[in-house]
């Protein structure tokens, strides 16, 4: 660094406002140079200012000024000045630093105020405050955006949770946030309108649904009323029909047996008229039979649809069902000249089913096949797999039009052409079949081709859950009872002397008259009672061999009458046959009646049963069960007791003999595995009054064993 030898010789103060400058040549008003660069740093003593060409350089030079040697005659003044300036700058910079620190710590409101005339500090103050304002504006905007977004989020959340009245604020200072608010509100308005419309629609739908439900309920009620009405009308039809059909048959029989022979050789006109009468009566009888079948179908369907069908599930062989059904309607096939082919698989398993109902289904399918087949053949097929047995009936008849095939199992739907052929039957048969099969957890379906024939098939599960409970025991008991009823009459013939007396209890005089005529013709003496009360009074004087009892009667109904008869020691053994329009055989059997017939009754089978029961004598009521297994005795006893039998239980030979002496049973059921069985039979045979007691062995299927026991 070169220090000038003579400052004022080199330069002068160039501040135009400086008085020294305005007075050229004044010796004291000189400028001197100091610092690093003489060119850049000038100091005028008079105007007390640094004069520099470049401010930055001047500042730098000034900071390094301390300790420098300055000309002695200027030194004191300059030193004071520099110290004052340094102090001022030092305070000013310190303020600046504080302000910057505040800003950097996150206070956008930090500002600086320096009370100085120093141009540098003033400029610095101005610049820093501008920066502070910018930062504050920026932060405020960010705050506004953050709060705005939160607000809108909140609004959207509330809208989504179902508060349709909430709206976003659209007056934000931030333009974007304000616009977003407007947009959200517009969408919310549209959404609310749509929801309101939807709700309105929903409300109307709900109202419609309620109306529909009410209508449906009414329909169901009407359907139930219809079923009840049908049931009632059908029941009511049965009583007069019983009279009409019964009397027509009696007229026919008497006409054929008594009148026709007397007319032989008479006038041809009379003979012609007689033949016509005979034919007409036959028509009445056959139409009466048809009407009976129709009423039975209507009642059957009404019962099934009302869920009142009682299925008696027992182990059933599908082959037996098929054979029994084919036998039952073989006459129809023979009459039409149609052959029936059997295509039965091997090892067809036994299923749990109501045998009579399955036979009903099969007869229906077979008779339909016969009805619509004029020539050709009908094939009955039985197949099976692991899960089910399938039975099909295929014919070579006219087939079913495709449009009718889907509805063929509906009520009153008939396969034939209604305009060209007279509908036959009630149109209820297949509907009943469908219900029966579905009640067996099975399914039924039809396939057909016009002119080629039809195939009706149904499948039934091999293992039916509904049938597993009491079924096998029931079956066993039914079998025992059947054996009993079949054989006891032969074993214990009661040779009644004189006329056999039958009491008819029915409030319908025509029915009583009809039964009287039928029974008198068969050699019975008749006692009549118009109601239960009269019957009970008459029974005190006369003891008939058998009672025929109606159910629906004034004063005391048939069930109560039966109960009174059974509870009187004098009358408890008289066989009772119920003949009613009601189908509640179970209730009858519970009361201990022997047979249950519904009107109109087939006279032939009624007379057959009357004969069988009277021949049998006292009704079989007391059974003794002997088995070492308590559970076996109990289950068999329970079932027999529900069928109206008095049951004694014994678990050993000694107990059995003791019990037999006490209760005098008509039948003893013995476990064939019981070791003392031979002793029991021998001992009991020698007891007075039990010489003819009937034994049934249960439990083994060993023929040799049976033989030895016989």
């Amino acid at each position: 660094m070169n220090e000038p030898k003579n400052c004022w010789e080199q330069t002068q103060c160039n501040n135009t406002d400086c008085a020294a400058f305005q007075s050229p040549g004044f010796p004291g008003k000189t400028a001197f140079a100091s610092g690093i660069s003489y060119e850049n740093l000038l100091y005028c003593i008079d105007c007390d200012e640094f004069l520099a060409t470049r401010e930055k350089d001047a500042l730098t030079a000034l900071l390094k000024l301390t300790g420098r040697s300055i000309k002695q005659n200027r030194l004191r003044n300059t030193k004071n000045h520099v110290e004052k300036l340094g102090l001022e700058l030092s305070i000013g910079f310190s303020d600046c630093f504080e302000m910057l620190k505040k800003l950097s710590l996150g206070d956008p409101t930090a500002r600086i105020e320096i009370n100085t005339d120093n141009w540098l500090l003033k400029k610095l103050e101005n610049a820093l405050n501008n920066v502070g304002e910018s930062i504050e504006r920026f932060i405020n905007q960010t705050h506004e955006m953050a709060i705005g977004i939160c607000e809108h989020y909140d609004t959207l959340s509330q809208l989504a949770s179902g508060n349709r009245n909430v709206r976003a604020s659209d007056d934000s200072r931030n333009e974007l946030i304000a616009k977003l608010g407007t947009l959200i509100n517009k969408e919310a308005d549209a959404l609310t309108q749509k929801i309101n419309e939807g709700e309105d629609l929903n409300q109307r739908l709900e109202q419609g649904m309620t109306e529909l439900r009410t209508a449906n309920q009414k329909l169901k009620e009407l359907d139930r009323q219809k079923s009840d009405f049908l049931s009632m009308v059908s029941h009511e039809l049965r009583t007069p029909l019983t009279s009409i059909l019964g009397f027509a048959k009696i007229i026919n029989k008497k006409f054929v047996n008594s009148i026709l022979p007397g007319l032989s050789g008479s006038d041809t006109t009379v003979e012609h008229a007689a033949r016509q009468i005979h034919q007409n009566i036959n028509i009445i009888v056959s139409e009466g039979d048809r009407l009976t079948a129709l009423i039975n179908n209507v009642l059957d369907l009404a019962k099934i649809e009302a869920g009142r069908i009682d299925l008696n599930f027992v182990p059933t062989s599908p082959l037996e069902v098929a054979e029994q059904s084919i036998r039952a309607i073989s006459a129809i096939f023979e009459n039409k000249g149609i052959t029936i082919k059997r295509n039965f698989g091997t090892d067809i398993p036994v299923i749990h089913a109501d045998k009579d109902r399955l036979v009903q289904v099969m007869i229906n399918l077979l008779s339909n096949a016969a009805k619509f087949t004029d020539h050709g053949e009908v094939t009955c097929t039985i197949t099976h797999d692991d899960s089910c047995v399938t039975i099909s009936v295929a014919d070579t008849g006219s087939g079913i039009p495709e449009e009718k095939l889907g509805r063929i199992f509906d009520r009153f739907e008939q396969g034939g052409e209604t305009l060209t052929s007279k509908p036959q039957g009630s149109g209820l048969g297949l509907a009943i079949c469908k219900h029966i099969i579905e009640n067996h957890s099975g399914k039924i379906w039809a396939q057909s081709r016009r002119g080629r024939g039809s195939i009706f098939s149904f499948s039934l599960p091999v293992k039916s859950e509904v049938s597993m409970g009491i079924g096998p025991i029931e079956h066993e008991v039914t079998e025992i009872v059947r054996q009993l009823k079949d054989h006891v009459a032969v074993i214990h013939p009661v040779h009644s002397r004189g006329k056999r007396v039958v009491m008819i209890i029915d409030d319908d005089a025509h029915i009583r008259e009809l039964l009287r005529q039928e029974l008198e013709a068969d050699g019975y003496t008749i006692l009549e009672a118009a109601d239960g009360l009269e019957a009970i009074q008459k029974l005190q004087k006369n003891k008939p061999h058998l009672i025929i009892l109606d159910i629906m009667m004034p004063k005391i109904n048939g069930y109560d009458t039966a109960a009174v008869i059974r509870n009187n020691p004098d009358t408890k053994d008289i066989p009772i046959i119920i003949l009613s329009i009601l189908e509640d055989a179970k209730r009858g059997y519970r009361l201990g009646v022997d047979r249950y017939f519904t009107k109109p009754v087939d006279t032939k089978s009624l007379l057959g049963e009357i004969k069988r029961l009277i021949t049998q004598g006292e009704t079989l009521k007391k059974i003794l069960i002997v088995d070492e297994s308590e559970s076996a005795v109990k289950s068999l006893a329970d079932v027999l007791q529900t069928k109206g039998y008095t049951v004694g239980k014994a678990y050993s030979g000694r107990q059995a003999i003791k019990m037999a002496r006490q209760m005098k049973p008509e039948l003893i059921i013995l476990d064939s595995l019981l070791k003392e069985r031979n002793e029991i039979t021998k001992t009991i045979r020698f007891v007075k009054g039990m010489e003819n007691v009937c034994f049934i062995l249960l439990g083994v299927h060993d023929e040799n064993q049976k033989d030895s026991d016989r």
């Binding site: 710590l105 996150g106 932060i139 705050h143 953050a146 939160c150």
Partner: protein, 74 residues
């Protein structure tokens, strides 16, 4: 109803508020949020946020010159 803590210590404006904005949607009505921070504008920022969003400040615990723990009920 639950209580959640949010620590914004060391963060300067507007970061604490942005953190609060992110946390808010997860809060259910009745929930409590305790937010701590030490920015010079922390209390002012949180107050203005709560004011705008309709949230209730149930307590302000002073922990230093600017440091606060503010309890907000949603």
């Amino acid at each position: 109803m639950g209580t959640r803590h949010l620590d914004t210590t060391g963060l300067i404006s507007p970061e604490p508020m942005l953190k609060l904005a992110v946390a808010a949607p997860d809060m259910k009505s009745g929930d409590i949020l305790e937010i701590t921070g030490d920015s010079p504008t922390f209390e002012k920022d949180i107050r203005s946020w709560c004011d705008r969003l309709g949230k209730e400040i149930t307590g302000v615990d002073s922990k230093g010159e600017y440091a606060r723990c503010i309890t907000i009920r949603f």
